[in-house]
């Protein structure tokens, strides 16, 4: 679906993207993650022909990215925010873009409906809120009924309600058997919708693969919280006696699962605590969030 190899972009002395190799399979929602200045937008701009790669190559839907005209026929994109003509209405903007892209103008009503702007179709773009502009930008990207959708920070500047709306919209769009590549800083939002992750830092690839496998190397932990805080020390000794290495945090004990079955270990530790006369108010298995795993990874890289 989308592959790049050795993709590089240099601006003077600054290497914005450094020999990036990645592959995104068909049908996934891929989250594109990295700190500010990591090279996400530049990479996306090279994929859609807005920026010329210094080196490297790739294909989109089997078409070389340097043959932009052919590659973009089946791609919809929204990069660096929604840019349209403020004095034109939402519908007029889409008419202009549909004609420019040689796309079916009959789809305008459908995409406006999909992004929830059908009742604002005749309002001027300049009067729209940022959230509405983002949605219209996505509507424009969907005009050609693309197989691949590339969205750069579609939640930028949105309030919590807008972010939630955008998440639902992305889920709806992805549900139509599309491949979506979306960059965002909101990792908890990405965690809920992505099944593939691409992580870059300093223009270099750190991870590209299934979301469920990212952070899998980081152990889950069993959280044990005694009713009596004073029992924490005894609980720690009891766990340590089993060859485990717990750590204490905020009135609870965190026990790395290691090679054990997490749920079995949690049950066994609960039983041991009860036998030792310690009553627990909380026993659960805690898996690392995308954000925690991502921050761990970055810390490792910069250490």
């Amino acid at each position: 679906m989308l592959t790049v190899s050795g993709l590089t972009k240099r601006y003077g002395d600054r290497l914005a993207v450094d020999h990036l190799d990645l592959r995104i399979p068909r049908g996934v929602v891929a989250g594109f993650i990295g700190p500010n200045g990591a090279g996400k937008t530049t990479t996306m701009a090279m994929l859609v022909g807005l920026a010329r790669p210094t080196a490297g190559d790739g294909t989109i839907l089997g078409v070389p990215i340097r043959d932009t005209a052919r590659a973009l026929r089946r791609v919809g994109a929204l990069l660096e925010g929604p840019a349209m003509w403020p004095s034109l209405t939402a519908r007029q903007n889409l008419v202009v873009l549909a004609r420019l892209g040689g796309q079916d103008e009959d789809r305008i009503a459908a995409v406006l409906e999909l992004v929830g702007l059908a009742d604002r179709a005749d309002d001027k773009f300049g009067k729209f809120s940022l959230g509405m502009k983002q949605r219209l930008g996505i509507a424009a990207a969907l005009l050609g009924d693309p197989e691949l959708l590339i969205l750069d920070e579609p939640t930028n500047g949105l309030d919590p309600a807008g972010i939630s709306d955008m998440r639902e919209l992305l889920v709806r769009i992805a549900g139509d058997d599309r491949t979506v590549l979306v960059s965002s800083h909101l990792l908890n939002e990405l965690e809920q919708i992505c099944d593939w992750l691409v992580i870059i830092d300093g223009g270099r690839l750190l991870y590209s693969g299934p979301a469920r496998e990212f952070g899998a190397a980081t152990d889950p932990e069993v959280v044990l919280r005694p009713v009596e805080r004073a029992a924490l020390e005894g609980l720690s000794e009891l766990v340590s006696a089993r060859g485990l290495e717990p750590r204490t945090t905020d009135g609870a004990l965190l026990v790395p699962v290691g090679g054990n079955d997490a749920l079995a270990l949690a049950g066994s530790l609960n039983g041991a605590a009860a036998t030792g006369g310690i009553v627990l108010s909380e026993v659960r298995v805690q898996r690392p969030t995308l954000e925690a795993a991502y921050l761990d990874m970055l810390e490792g890289v910069h250490r």
């Binding site: 601006y11 914005a16 937008t41 530049t42 701009a45 859609v48 022909g49 807005l50 920026a51 010329r52 932009t68 005209a69 973009l72 919809g76 994109a77 990069l79 660096e80 925010g81 929604p82 840019a83 349209m84 003509w85 403020p86 034109l88 007029q92 008419v95 202009v96 873009l97 004609r99 420019l100 892209g101 040689g102 796309q103 424009a140 990207a141």
Partner: protein, 264 residues
């Protein structure tokens, strides 16, 4: 190119835009004709160096549309500013990015847009010429200018000729404006550079160097608008301006196709 052309026309030919343009045309025709007619003097009193309408030339067959050519000449800087705005504003707004995602062939995008702008300009000029002719006809007798020769085949030929001259003049300004916009990519800078150069700078140089009108693009376009001047003939002005226009078009295309369109 056809897609870009159709898209640009959809953007330009909106009711509000057309109404606004119609109002500007009517006001300009009435006021412009009044100014030109009242400025007309007997030929004997007019210096060959100046660009002043004479009562004799305005009374000839092409007098009605000559008024239009004089009125158009007042708008040189405005035409340049409009075209700089049309090409540069899309960089400031980020809309080139949006357009290139639909039409990645940059040469076709630029050519389609230019063709659409010039089509609209051609339409506006045709209406403006007719409106100015009517306005001049209604006011001419009050200025002692005979309009008896303003009808007929000769007048129609002169009208076509005057229209073609103004259209060439507008096309030259449009291509130069596009080149400035493509090179500096900023509305404010493009306007500052363009107006400063084509406005005071070229005219100051002209005052110091008599041959300047034969070499500078703005002065050459002015000469075309005046059907040639004592310092530069029409043919020389047309040929030299055509060279500038071709060079400016090539520069525009190269600048637009080779540079990234991102804020990164």
């Amino acid at each position: 190119m056809i897609r870009a052309y159709r898209a640009e026309l959809a953007r330009l030919l909106r009711r509000r835009m057309l109404i606004g343009t119609a109002i500007v045309i009517v006001v300009t025709a009435i006021a412009g004709a009044a100014i030109v007619l009242s400025a007309a003097e007997p030929a004997a009193r007019v210096s060959s160096e100046g660009y002043t309408p004479t009562i004799e030339s305005l009374s000839r067959a092409g007098g009605g549309t000559e008024v239009f050519r004089y009125v158009a000449a007042f708008w040189g800087t405005f035409v340049f500013v409009v075209f700089v705005g049309l090409f540069a504003l899309d960089f400031s707004r980020g809309t080139y990015r949006t357009m290139l995602l639909r039409q990645p062939n940059r040469l076709r995008l630029l050519a389609g847009r230019m063709a659409a702008f010039l089509t609209v300009a051609a339409g506006i000029l045709a209406v403006a010429e007719a409106a100015t002719w009517v306005a001049a006809r209604l006011q001419a007798s009050g200025q002692g200018i005979s309009t008896s020769a303003w009808n007929g085949t000769a007048a129609l030929g002169a009208a076509v000729s005057d229209y073609a001259i103004v259209l060439v003049w507008v096309t030259g300004y449009a291509v130069l404006a596009m080149a400035v916009a493509m090179l500096v990519r900023s509305l404010a800078v493009a306007l500052a550079v363009g107006i400063l150069w084509a406005g005071p700078l070229e005219h100051l140089i002209q005052n110091a160097w008599a041959s300047a009108p034969r070499f500078f693009p703005g002065l050459l376009l002015e000469a075309i608008g005046q059907r040639g001047t004592p310092r530069v003939g029409m043919t020389q002005a047309l040929v030299t301006a055509a060279v500038y226009t071709v060079v400016a078009a090539i520069v525009s295309v190269v600048a637009f196709t080779r540079r990234d369109v991102t804020t990164a």
